[in-house]
């Protein structure tokens, strides 16, 4: 009986099922060359053990013990913000998340951070309205910004993500709708949209919806630039909502 090297390696690594194990052991008993190949794989493992096990008996350097006892770094950079966001996403959607997805989502979005312009034709939208000095949220978007706790409404038309404060102390919240994503900040009587990017749920509906509450990188970068301190946790969001998002 012939066995591939890969199968014999798996046997040496204890990774074959009982049936295959019996077949291999029977073949080894009949054919010493098979036994020899297995022995070679096992002796390599033993050699590697000798080469690297020494460190197990060395005293652990203090700096590593100190690192393990230290406080976790606060999320401050874009990378860490993304990581924090990903952790939140993973908790919400146990499915795996990858850079490939990011890229395809980014490609499906026509990214346009607004500087007071009306890329989304707010006059024709029931979620946005133009005011004298920019765009404000209206309708369901305004309601969601005021009432929704981040990550709670996965299937809603408007989904709220992160909540954070800017240097002025105003509260800002990220949102994703069927066709756009961005963030808005609370002003005395309204939610002012500070960044907006157009998303084509009609162009790439499936993928975009699947990624759900995820934000386009341009929006994430804008959030990172604007945010003062850390994003609010759930309890802080609830407390801020109870105060009607007043500073």
């Amino acid at each position: 009986m012939q066995f591939s090297d890969e199968i014999l390696m798996a046997y040496a690594d204890d990774e074959v099922d009982a049936d295959l194990r019996r077949q291999i052991e029977a073949a080894m008993a009949l054919d010493p060359s098979i036994a020899e190949r297995v022995a070679k794989h096992r002796s390599l493992r033993a050699d590697l053990g000798v080469a690297f096990d020494g460190v197990l008996d060395e005293p652990i350097p203090d700096r590593l013990l100190e690192a393990a006892a230290s406080s976790p770094a606060k999320p401050a950079s874009v990378t860490d913000l993304k990581a924090a966001r990903m952790a939140k996403e993973r908790a919400a959607h146990p499915r795996r998340w990858s850079w490939v997805e990011w890229t395809s989502i980014a490609a499906s979005l026509i990214i346009g951070i607004l500087a007071g312009r009306t890329a989304l034709h707010p006059s024709r939208s029931d979620l946005f309205a133009t005011s004298a000095d920019g765009i404000v949220a209206r309708g369901e978007l305004s309601a969601a910004l005021t009432d929704q706790i981040g990550g709670d409404a996965k299937d809603a038309k408007v989904r709220i993500g992160l909540t954070f404060r800017v240097t002025s102390g105003d509260y800002c919240r990220t949102f994703v709708t069927a066709s756009a994503a961005g963030f808005a900040c609370r002003e005395p009587n309204e939610w002012k949209v500070r960044a907006l990017s157009e998303g084509g749920s009609d162009v790439n509906g499936g993928d975009y919806r699947m990624a759900g509450t995820e934000l386009p990188p341009a929006i994430l970068a804008a959030v990172e630039q604007s945010m003062a301190g850390e994003a609010l946790d759930r309890e802080q969001e609830q407390a801020a909502r109870a105060r009607d998002w007043k500073k």
Partner: protein, 168 residues
């Protein structure tokens, strides 16, 4: 999503405790992939910091060592890239692998195994380090490397062949 600060605190504490228990093995894995002892400990330190700042990502149902070795693997790739020496990282002549004049046969063997390991392409070295040095199952190693099992076994097989050829 519904984690309260109390459970966040205890997950941080759990991650801390498991890191400390795993430290000797983290150092061994570091040596197996980074080779230079100081580089290896730097890598362990960076990985501990990353693990603590992302402690909420660890799911108790997944083996802690797979998660932690995965963080080390990513940290190593990032570091090696940042230092512009991806691939064959350090020359065998560099510190940590000096051959003593009066080396015994066992020491020479040990050094030649370390050298052979260092000469492997990054991906194969990771697979060999996780399965043959750290004793992870194929499934755990594939999870730590974030690749399908078939990819893991083929890297492992190629790494093993290359090592055996060099050590013959």
């Amino acid at each position: 999503m519904n984690e309260t600060p109390a459970s966040t605190q205890s997950s941080l504490q759990q991650v801390r405790e498991q890191i400390v228990a795993l430290l000797p093995r983290l150092r061994r894995f570091g040596r197996a992939i980074a080779r230079h002892p100081a580089d290896a400990d730097d890598l362990v330190q960076i990985s501990i910091e990353r693990a603590l700042s992302r402690h909420e990502q660890w799911r108790p149902e997944a083996p802690f060592h797979s998660w932690m070795f995965g963080i080390m693997r990513n940290a190593w790739i990032d570091e090696a890239r940042a230092r512009g020496r991806h691939g064959k990282v350090l020359a065998p002549e560099e510190a940590g692998l000096d051959v003593p004049d009066n080396a015994s046969e066992a020491q020479l063997r040990l050094l030649s195994v370390q050298r052979a390991m260092a000469s492997l392409p990054e991906e194969q070295r990771m697979a060999v380090a996780l399965v043959l040095v750290e004793g992870l199952s194929y499934k755990e190693a594939a999870e730590a490397l974030d690749v399908p099992i078939g990819t893991l076994t083929s890297r492992l097989a190629r790494g093993r062949e290359a090592l055996q050829k060099q050590l013959e």
